[in-house]
């Protein structure tokens, strides 16, 4: 298992699926844009502004999932000194940060016509902003701290605190009174989104995931080459 996860094997495997990803991304994106902008119905109260959901919700999910994964990898690396996980979390962090930013900005754009304000300091919105700050601190701490040992320690600290924040983001709408509505899609229990709106939502999520994979592969490749370049000097 760990042998398969070695940088060499992962690298060869990633290059194989790279071609497939570049082929399906564009057609998939066009189909889901047509679905989310034109084919899906407007909401019974919100009208057409509900279409912002199709970019807002999947990007929020990705921002949360990405940080959970980064947190897990960082802590894993801190405990077991598994070098390859550094390469993976370095490749993931910029993606998560971008989607966190997208989530906050599209949320603000959505808030204006529906709530009547761009921003509110309620628990959900504030904890999401804190998540963005965690992403930025995390990226800074591996980019600008040269000492590998120190940087992995700081990253693990940020990851631990960030994971607590992830739970606060997730459950903020249930614990406290917030302007933000509670979750519509639940893993356990009923989903309160009509089926005709779930189609574009799922498609959009798929597009974002494929896009994430594309960026991740480029970033991971760059990290591997950077590592090998250091190795060249030792030849």
């Amino acid at each position: 298992m760990l042998n398969f996860l070695s940088p060499g094997n992962l690298f060869v495997f990633f290059n194989k699926i790279n071609k497939l990803i570049t082929k399906i991304l564009l057609p998939l994106a066009i189909v889901s844009l047509v679905f989310s902008l034109f084919l899906s119905p407007p909401d019974y109260i919100q009208g057409d502004s509900v279409r912002i959901m199709y970019v807002h919700v999947p990007s929020s999910w990705i921002a949360l999932a990405c940080f959970s994964l980064i947190g897990f990898l960082t802590i894993f690396n801190f405990l077991f000194k598994f070098k390859n996980s550094i390469l993976i979390y370095k490749s993931l962090a910029p993606i998560g940060m971008s989607f966190c930013l997208i989530s906050i900005v599209t949320g603000a754009i959505w808030g204006q016509p529906t709530w009547g304000t761009f921003w509110a300091w309620d628990a959900r919105l504030t904890s999401m902003l804190i998540l963005l700050v965690f992403y930025i601190l995390f990226i800074f701490s591996y980019k600008f701290i040269q000492n590998q040992n120190l940087s992995s320690k700081i990253c693990a600290t940020l990851a631990a605190l960030g994971i607590v924040n992830i739970f606060i983001v997730k459950y903020s709408v249930d614990f406290w009174s917030t302007l933000h509505q509670t979750s519509s899609v639940k893993i356990l229990g009923d989903t309160s989104i009509d089926k005709s709106m779930l189609v574009p939502l799922t498609l959009m999520l798929l597009v974002f995931l494929v896009y994430c994979a594309l960026i991740f592969l480029m970033k991971y490749r760059a990290e591997i080459i950077r590592m090998k370049k250091k190795g060249l000097k030792r030849l």
């Binding site: 034109f38 009208g47 502004s49 060249l232």
Partner: protein, 76 residues
């Protein structure tokens, strides 16, 4: 021409700007990642050129280095 699909019942500005912002961020991240990757690849190739034939042979035994060098030449 039917303009209703662009105005979206008065919400057009919000909907289109949200989608445009998402697209711009994604596109920017894509360009930035590709640029840094291209630069690293060409730097790597330049450094390999400086090596002796013997060193290149040992380098090509490694799975990763071989993959970098071959896929790079295919792309050009």
């Amino acid at each position: 021409m039917n303009l209703s699909i662009f105005t979206m019942g008065g919400y057009g500005l919000y909907v289109w700007s949200a989608f445009a912002f998402t697209f711009l961020v994604c596109f920017f991240l894509f360009l930035k990642s590709r640029k840094s990757l291209k630069k690293l690849e060409s730097d790597f190739k330049d450094e390999v050129k400086k090596l002796s034939a013997e060193q290149v042979d040992t380098l090509k035994k490694g799975k990763i280095s071989k993959e970098i060098l071959t896929s790079q030449s295919k792309a050009k």
